[in-house]
Symmetry: C2
Subunit: 239 residues, 2 copies
Amino acid sequence: MIENHLARLRFRHRIDADEETAIRGMMGERRRIAAGTTLVRAGEPLTRSTMLLSGLLCRYRDLRGGERQISELQVPGDFADLHSYTLKRLDHGILALTACEIVEVPHERLRAVVRAFPRLADIYWFSTNLDAAIHREWMVSLGRRKAAARVAALFCELQVRLAIVGLADDTGYALWLSQYDLAECMGLTSVHINRTLRELREAGLVTFRDRRVQIHDLQGLRRVAEFDPAYLYLGQQPL
Amino acid sequence: MIENHLARLRFRHRIDADEETAIRGMMGERRRIAAGTTLVRAGEPLTRSTMLLSGLLCRYRDLRGGERQISELQVPGDFADLHSYTLKRLDHGILALTACEIVEVPHERLRAVVRAFPRLADIYWFSTNLDAAIHREWMVSLGRRKAAARVAALFCELQVRLAIVGLADDTGYALWLSQYDLAECMGLTSVHINRTLRELREAGLVTFRDRRVQIHDLQGLRRVAEFDPAYLYLGQQPL
DNA sequence: CGCACTCTTGATGGTCATCAAGACGGGTGG
DNA sequence: CCACCCGTCTTGATGACCATCAAGAGTGCG
């Protein structure tokens, strides 16, 4: 059930049998939620974190004019809101972009585990710091990259993150997003995303069609994006 | 010496005498560094974190074309790179924007403290999660706010963060940045920052001159920015 | 005193937003 | 079963916002 999560952790850290048992023991109720469900509203008190088993979640914030900024995409094996363990409430909402399977982890159990296994405390602390590193990379995109490089950078990031849990290879991956969703990630409009996708496709780099990212030229895509996976802290492991 | 840091922690958490002693005991070598010093280069292995006593630091990343994106500003009392405790190396550089006083905290000592005081582990974990919340707010600026709102949001954020350590009030604060630096924070050019500052000044909201943010109308500034300090997790404490 | 940095303003152009309209496909109800 | 509707994709036309290029003034420092 949480094999994705363990794969993701083991990609960067050693997890021994006791620790694995403790992690499995934290898992609470398993649920299915429909696409479009708001999992967490900004500001509401939280006493549990949510782990994603399958599907796609996002963190987002809205401005009064209705403009939405998505600040991160969560892929299977990711915690959606591990940071709520220390923050108690969130500065952003969490939304299911597709139908999802999730597991809830009560903060109480998480606390018991990180108290009993200090290495797991460091590992989960690392995990939230990795989210922040992804935030910084998106800031570079939003602040300094042009549209084509932004989209290319996003596709490159997701290729790596999904490959870690076996959901992508060098030729592409399923990505159940609309062009409208991509626009909300990258600070653009869906109209401009559409033109940018055409540009990337005509350049022979990548095709996004039928909810699938088809990568024609991974090296070229990474060059356009100036993508360096260092910010994903992959360690020495081969994909 | 680290009174700013304790003030910042106590603004959001209870810290008892034992914990304070432990925190003080972590502090290592104190140093002065000149403006423009690169404190940490992206990717280099780190075995210590750095706390800022006075001055201004930033986290930044450069693209090949020379464009720089600053992803966060550090004010006195902040750790510059507490996250390096779990990450071991950083995905970004750290630069002194002004002359600074800093204290180094060896990771070994930090580890001993968070092992001995699990509540401090949670509190420092919270602290890095707060950095991530600030990142998300900047993403909203970079992705969705127009220039005037971006600059206003930055000035509002710094007003709150500096007020916590006694370096700002409702009328303003010292901010030792050039318009060029502001541009690198907000994903704009210094030319456009200059025009935007004029616009905010002529609207009677704020004047940035002689390295000082003079706030004429804090409520108005917050309205323009759509600033809601919730993302700074202030708790119930009055400023 | 000269040099480097910063600030300021003008002129022009590029990137992306906005508005609009049509095509396409999947799902639903008559 | 087909008409209809809604969400999504696509493309064109126009314009806003911000970048770029350029030049001059002010300031601090060696």
